[in-house]
Symmetry: C2
Subunit: 133 residues, 2 copies
DNA sequence: CGGTATCCCGGCCGATACTG
DNA sequence: CAGTATCGGCCGGGATACCG
């Protein structure tokens, strides 16, 4: 009864992404997912409106952006501020918790961006040794 | 000719995950993907064999672990050490670059794990205001 | 042990159309 | 502008079987 699957329910055990049923796994996927990370990154510079975000995040569709924003809002990382004007105006911004998460995420992103030359070189070496089979 | 899609090819521009065609986007997805992050995290404590990894990462299939390890090896983040013995023994370990990436990734993971109570509380508030429609 | 090959299903995600 | 609704393809990824 102390299998790894139960860690999420046991209040004495810490949250652990390595356990399949731990809710932290889901939240981490929202944060690091294909669009989640880019959305948080874009919002780090300040609040943005829906279509501003869409333009900022090259390649995202309306549907995925909407879905991503809902997930992040639900997790308490993004705040949605709607003004009942006409035309409607909705601003999205990071919550304090979201800002803390995003800072740690951006540290990772910027590091990877800065080492892409190394990564690309490793790729060529890897592909080379297999001799284009 | 200076559209956002071309940043990857222009050597003067830095790598930028926000651009659709930038290779850093792909590598970041390997690192933060469903299994990539967990694999790097598991290897951070030391080198592990294939089936040790499989047991450590709750829920991963042989196929996905194999696929994930290949991608990370190709990106130069994981080193594969095979011994031609019988039975075969293969050890996986982080490269220096992989270790640097993983440290930044773990900072993020541990922060999220530590704030899951806040996230779960936000979820209940969010779901509550919509009144189970 | 340490994988690869194959099958196949669910759901991710893009495209399009529509609403307030 | 700020989304929701719906459809459909594609592929991520699990299950199984097989190989060195």
């Amino acid at each position: 009864m102390t299998s790894t699957q139960e860690r999420a329910e046991d209040p004495d055990l810490p949250y652990n992404v390595f356990a399949k049923a731990c809710p932290s796994r889901g939240t981490l996927e929202h944060v690091t997912g294909r669009w989640g990370g880019l959305t948080l990154g874009a919002l780090h510079e300040g609040s943005l409106r829906f279509n501003e975000l869409r333009r900022r995040i090259d390649g995202v569709s309306e549907k995925m952006l909407s879905q991503t924003l809902h997930a992040l809002e639900r997790d308490g990382l993004v705040h949605r501020e709607a003004q009942p004007s006409n035309p409607p105006r909705v601003d999205y911004e990071l919550t304090p918790l979201g800002r803390e998460v995003t800072e740690r995420l951006l540290t990772l992103i910027h590091f990877v961006e800065g080492r892409m030359d190394d990564v690309l070189a490793a790729r060529e070496r890897y592909d080379g040794t297999r001799g284009t089979l």
